[in-house]
Subunit: 212 residues, 4 copies
């Protein structure tokens, strides 16, 4: 297990650095996790309050399914670890990534009253696990933000059950959660959803000018 | 030939990484190919479903002119290889690159009803092979997207014959195809067409505000 | 102290390069400083007129609390060192960063008549030191720009006393100042405030189109 | 002189790569030059049609004041070398950089009827050589584009004499020319003018929405 944790921790650090460069994890925001073992459930997760551009593998934290830190070391896991744990349990995910981009922040507010936003007709959707055609309609739910992480985790779990086919969700004025069977797939989903959110946002902006 | 394949595979990987950094191949989208031999036609092509920021030369796949994989190795070539093969045959191209950018995705939808978009009067056009003046008018056709790659490849071939002077085309809400005598020229065409699409998109946006 | 200066100088150079890549310190603009000692107050500060993408640790300058250069070496500290010194004194900051981004430049002008701009309801705010909830309202004051650095420093000091809870301020059509207990925190504040300014700017742009 | 050429060539390559990353020299567009000797005038200049992200020092070309290539080697200097030579002669510049950015391309068209655009009131202007205050008014002339480089060079020379205080000019739907005493200053001017053009372009876009 220790070797597996080391390998996962190393990939978490590389993925975090990559997403930080794109401006999706600025200011120590966002967090990443990956499953190290299923029974009992053990997760490697990024620590709280660390610059994702500087994060090293040996800073990753091992937690159990209640979010308790396993092993020594004084570092604190991300405050949002209850959300990661619920996503892993509800979806059987092997990795969860939470990013803060400008476009996800904006659209999570603009479409909040609708309860989410629908993305349909884009080839890029095919990069989402299990999607076979651009005609797929992806529903991206938007949940109100909260500082009560346990209550928020319950709402997230309810939402995941209500929409069993979703690949991610937005927290209002906060950011994007997505996941995958393993870290590589979760990163792919981040890139796809962030791309589509930027595309939707810019399209909304340009559509008023379409008669020009 | 094996040495030539290795060299081409290495350049494909470097080019893919470069275009991934710019956000034009996110989420394992897009694909690149280059001709390894003409008679019989052999192409090196990127594998399906791989992160273009991590792609290594030894992952490239050698295919024939029917898209069949040559040699061993279980990897699957890009689903879109029929389109690459048709572009190579119709244009005598030595390399083909297909990117997914936010701007090409948007403009392929905004101008779909017109059947394409005309780009004229920009110095940047001179970077397209054979273009000698900014007064050149480049017609960039837009084709409806499809998951039937063979049917789509036929429509692409028809379009290439209908417009023999084009340097690329768009698939609706999908992305850009362009090509060149060799990979370096194809990459140059990607940069030029993506630049011009962004310029056209932003100009459309700002033109409404021109009285300000 | 000399070893401490060397370590701080090295971190200043790395931070400057990182922010330059993001386009927030273009054209030799902006400056960074960090406290080397408190009694007497000694600051390491970036030199005037140097490309932040090329800046080396051994180019950093040690100044006292009047902005006088300590030690030999002919280089000139940033013209804006009086502002850095006042921020350090008024806030007890350990590091100060001043960036020039497109969005901070624009918003510092658009909201100038209001005396500042309020940022509220974003999760990203929690990355500002001491902020515990997205419901926090951050007031970012905007001061008129000036070339009289001593007079400007006095106005800055007055403003810092008038708004004791602020984490930064804007100079009109000039850029952002922020700070932290140490350099890492100051850099975190730069990323957060620049992210939020871009978000506010783009939201303002898109809000007119919200009926589309 | 040979050693000086080598040093300058090396710096030209590094500067080109840096500006290519920012998207200001895409598709082999743009060109850079620096003075190697004054009497007789010898310039090191980037070759025609080369990817600026891959350009190596040993690809730089030495030309005289008529644009003739000195020494052997079959490479062709940039077609725009007459413009570089005229800027060097009229301004006594030590280096000239010509970039193609999206914003300079757009604004060179939007403001063409006005003969140029005025930039005033931005702190960033102080990075232009000799400018001491943000109150400075920089006039950036816009000239109609042409493929007749000698005629265009004459018009450029006339314009430089008509506006002796300018730090750059735009060619319509083409790009930016700027220069400096040496390459570092010219690069600084690129960053400053590109920053200001983006700021002006985005401000124009947002100003319509200022009542929101």
């Amino acid at each position: 297990m220790s070797e597996r944790f080391a390998e996962i921790a190393s990939r978490l650090a590389l993925t975090a650095a990559d997403l930080h460069v794109r401006g999706w994890l600025l200011g120590t925001s966002g967090n990443l996790s990956a499953v190290v073992g299923r029974e009992p459930l053990h997760l490697a997760i990024t620590p709280s309050g660390v610059d994702k551009g500087e994060l090293q593998a040996d800073q990753m934290i091992l937690i159990d399914d209640r979010g308790c830190v396993l092993g020594d070391g004084g570092a604190k896991p991300s405050d949002e670890c209850p959300l990661h744990i619920r996503v892993v349990k509800e979806r059987g995910a092997g990795a969860v990534i939470h990013t803060h981009s400008v476009w996800s922040t904006m659209l999570s507010d603009l479409y909040f009253e609708d309860g989410g936003l629908a993305i349909q007709g884009y080839e890029m959707l095919k990069g989402l696990h299990g999607v076979k055609t651009h005609e797929h309609r992806e529903w991206l739910p938007i949940l109100e933000n909260s500082q009560d992480m346990l209550a928020l985790a319950d709402r997230v779990a309810d939402n995941l059950r209500q929409y069993p086919g979703t690949h991610g969700f937005l927290l209002r004025r906060h950011g994007l959660y997505t996941w995958g069977d393993e870290l590589r797939q979760a990163k792919r989903h981040v890139e796809i959803l962030e791309f589509l959110l930027e595309t939707l946002g810019r399209t909304r902006l340009i559509s008023m000018n379409s008669s020009a």
